[in-house]
Amino acid sequence: MNVNNIRALFPILHQDVNGHPLVYFDSAATSQKPLPVIEALDRYYREYNSNVHRGVHTLGTKATDAYEGAREKVRRFLNAQSAQEIIFTRGTTASLNLVASSYGRANVKEGDEIVITYMEHHSNLIPWQQLAKQTGATLKYIPLQEDGTIDLRDVEETVTEAAKIVAIAHVSNVLGTINPVREIARIAHERGAVVVVDAAQSAPHMKVDVQELDCDFLALSGHKMCGPTGIGVLYGKKKWLEQMEPIEFGGEMIDFVELYDSTWKELPWKFEGGTPIIAGAIGLGAAIDFLEQVGLDAIAAHEHELAQYALSRMADIEGITVYGPKERAGLVTFNIDGVHPHDVATVLDAEGIAIRAGHHCAQPLMKWLGVTATARASFYLYNTKEEIDRFIAALQKAKEYFSHVF
């Protein structure tokens, strides 16, 4: 993997911010977009923008082929058995809400249990909170180990026969923990529960195989994996999707409409009411082509190296607390003693370095960590060790600056 060649495909990276070359360490929030994705969107709008699945004209056919072609790319990317199991949504949040509202409302009742973990992003927490409130089910949390990992014995203990849904992040957006989803799915299935995987932080960075994980549902966002915003995916096993009711009704998703009753299209279209996210899906397809060309294993190895390098350099700076396990995905969440993360982020921004500061949409996890906010540097295939060196130098500056002004 040649990082320079990859960087050449990302126009946004080649700019100065506050007088310094941009270092973009916020890809866990949203990734940058490579030329093949930007050009695919441009080509669609310039050459064949048209609505899909209707009309007989040539552009409509082209757009339909590209849209459904993108679905097939997602199927291949996730190794789903059928393209019918791939539903395009607005993003991970919309995907998880769809599962909670449709599958959840139909299958969860009072006295049942829904199990999540302390490290969930709000998008994989609030839909289940709401579902529990609406149905009278109990929401339970799998505890975390000191280092922010999950012990399978705790999973065995928390997931009982009363559990109907186990929802878990594949990779934590704060701790970088890579969760043993396959083993958790095995335990959940033994107890008769379905497993919902939030793959927003894993799908962009590593090979995700839904058959190998044996998950029942899996959600991801296009914009975190080099694709456009506003497009995401819900994968679901066909046996569940077939029995689920749509949650949005209108055009595009219907079969026959009569005055007082209607029937739905077959999978996956019954879940895609309204004009679909055509450009978004085509852009996501281009992003998948790009990621597969580079190679998901190569991307994972590159990010692993960056994260380990960052961890070892940060360990040399006194007064820095790093959260999460040593073995982790490509991100590092941390705090500098006595300096609020916003202030850290502002000092780094003055050096052209973009990081995230705040609660990372994981307030229960912040509480578990005993902090109100943290700073986070997250890496992707276009980042380099030299950028981490600049990041380390800037952290030292932030420390010095604040000890100086105090």
Partner: protein, 144 residues
Amino acid sequence: MSSNHPLDQLYRQVIMDHYKNPRNRGVLEGTNVDVNMNNPTCGDRIHLTMKVEDGKVADVKFEGEGCSISMSSASMMTQAIKGKTVEEALRLAHIFSDMIQGKEYDDSVDLGDIEALQGVSKFPARIKCATLAWKALEKGLHHH
């Protein structure tokens, strides 16, 4: 670090002083104005308690968590409004809001320490940090 660092216009000495030694920190018991407010995008929060008597802010205290800008702004605000009438306090909040957004603002009122926060207007990502305490003030006084 040299004293002409570009961040010096943001992190002025007086701001750091208020951050390190916050004025009027705590919670007033038995008050008639009690406001909790947070900034959901970043996790900063403030608990503002005020005793309003005869149309005046007789006493005020704040408690909270947040960055240097949000906490120093809260400290300065309590210092500035203590003893002022409700109208004067709200007028100050209005002037502050204009100043922090980089707009033209009424400079006939002596802002004291608060003026040090003017530099925040050049850091758009941090404006919300500075306004949290003032939003709590406005909410508290409007509901009073």
